[in-house]
Symmetry: C2
Subunit: 307 residues, 2 copies
């Protein structure tokens, strides 16, 4: 699992930071978190392909978070994508995509739009579960958690052999945590494989004030990507504009007990973000500032928690 | 007069080239030629301000030429622009701008949209005249010429003094090419100033096949910015897609007798454009390939042509 930041600016792009977007690579698949202007070009730069299985999670319908969608769909069309693309976002998503598609021509592959109307699970497949919680901004929006489902623990072939289990379908069954029978004896999965590994969890705040809902959503996350539009001295401005300060973002990370906090959506007034980092660090030590094209391996916890 | 290329890619951006846009700086004012995705960020990089007097000329309503408009208008709004902005383009421009403004919130300053319905002069002020000619693409579009009006010739104060003209309003009159009377004698403008200088001319093709109309529009231009999506070996593809090859663009430049040809809108299949340049050069020697953030001083012709 790898998180790639494509754009990390606040409402206006700067020389250093493009409009907001990130992708979470899960194997060969992609979960995109917002899609600000310039996202498609950053995907080229980050060598993120346009033909992969992909789901887009839109936090809210402000231009700096969604103006990259038309170009992304156009480029995918030009490249002949035929796989469906699912986009999740707040009410208004459908009319936004319809508006630019009608004006400029729509995509030539299936784009499925899902408006999220209530908190809870919005997307689920074999490997992942995406959950939304309401954000608190100047218009309706959602924060998202992406939770990997528990995966089988590490399999030890030598132990299976020692217990007389022949290589083949029985190994496969054991690898998936189920017991097998060999010549009348039961071989338990736990005898030849480590306990299941907990899934990794990445949470994205979108633009928001710090809220109890977000703390709950982010509980125990490996990575919390949280907006920090302003330094603490602009706390009042943050409150007025429905944004968070460095210190507020760090407070969410601390209260949720996350492993790593990544600050993004920095206002263009901070060309050098060192001061922001120092502020946040006083509240929560494990914090970094996102940079465009920064890649972050989401660490696999080998310690079994599901055991 | 300076031409600044903001994006020079074909329909898809690449690592090296962003979507199509250029600005012509005329003194402190700006004429923008198309506004592809990412234009606002390139403006930041090129130190082109968001509060200047500005006119946007849109060649046609394909995404790679207009997807930067929503973000540009949003950023201008956030920065508190109050000056009007005039945008010219083909039919459909109004419904496009209306569509994204309704979906995401419109600009907070006056944006005046002008749909161009026939060739001829579309915009004129004290200094400039903008003329449109129909392009030949897969949908309605326009090529534009920006022609500076003739400017007064260089004024020689020492000659005025020698002829007894006192510094002040009379100098101003002479500088603007009009004769004055001093103590009963007529002093002609031509006695103290060089002949008027012809205005500079910059022409932008948009996406198009080479046409007689474009040759006419570009006649004698200082700079012709012409699309060259394909190399000559893809001439048939160019014909099918309503684009031009290097050699076709060079032919337009040659037939129009321009001073400099700049090739832009290069397909992403040409990461290294050296071969394209060589092809074009065989037909027309004074040719360069546009690069993102390239700046080009449009030379002032000191030789009076209006004399």
């Amino acid at each position: 699992m790898k998180l790639v930041f494509l754009g990390t600016s606040g409402s206006m792009p700067t020389e250093r930071r493009g409009s907001c977007s990130a992708v979470l690579k899960v194997g060969r698949d992609l979960i995109m978190l917002d899609c600000g202007e310039g996202t498609q070009r950053q995907m080229v730069r980050a060598h993120v392909g346009f033909r992969r299985n992909m789901v887009v999670l839109v936090s809210h319908l402000h231009g700096d978070h969604v103006l990259g969608l038309p170009g992304l769909l156009q480029t995918m069309s030009l490249l002949g994508r035929d796989k469906r693309l699912d986009i999740y976002g707040p009410e208004g998503l459908i009319s936004y995509v319809k508006a630019f598609s009608e004006a400029l021509g729509g995509p030539t592959f299936p784009v499925i739009l899902h408006e999220v109307h209530e908190p809870g699970v919005v997307y689920e497949d074999e490997d992942l579960r995406v959950t939304a919680a309401a954000s608190s901004h100047t218009l309706e929006g959602w924060s998202y958690s992406v939770l990997e489902k528990p995966r089988p623990g590490r399999f030890h072939p030598e132990k299976a052999r020692a217990l007389g289990v022949p290589e083949g379908p029985l190994w496969h069954t054991l690898q998936h945590g189920e017991d097998v029978e060999v010549e009348g004896r039961v071989v338990e999965a736990g005898m030849v494989a480590d306990p299941p590994r907990r899934g990794r969890k990445v949470v994205y705040s979108g633009d928001t004030r710090p809220t109890a809902e977000l703390v709950e959503l982010a509980r125990g996350a490996d990575v919390l990507v949280h907006e920090a539009t302003f330094a603490e001295e602009l706390a009042e401005r943050a409150r007025e504009d429905g944004h968070s300060t460095t210190v507020e973002a760090a407070g969410v990370a601390r209260d949720a007990g996350v492993r790593l906090l990544v600050l993004t959506h920095l206002s263009s007034r901070y060309p050098e973000p060192g001061g922001l980092l120092d502020e946040a660090r006083k509240v929560f030590a494990r914090v970094v500032i996102a940079e465009d094209l920064m890649e972050l391996e989401v660490p696999l916890d080998e310690v079994a928690e599901a055991a």
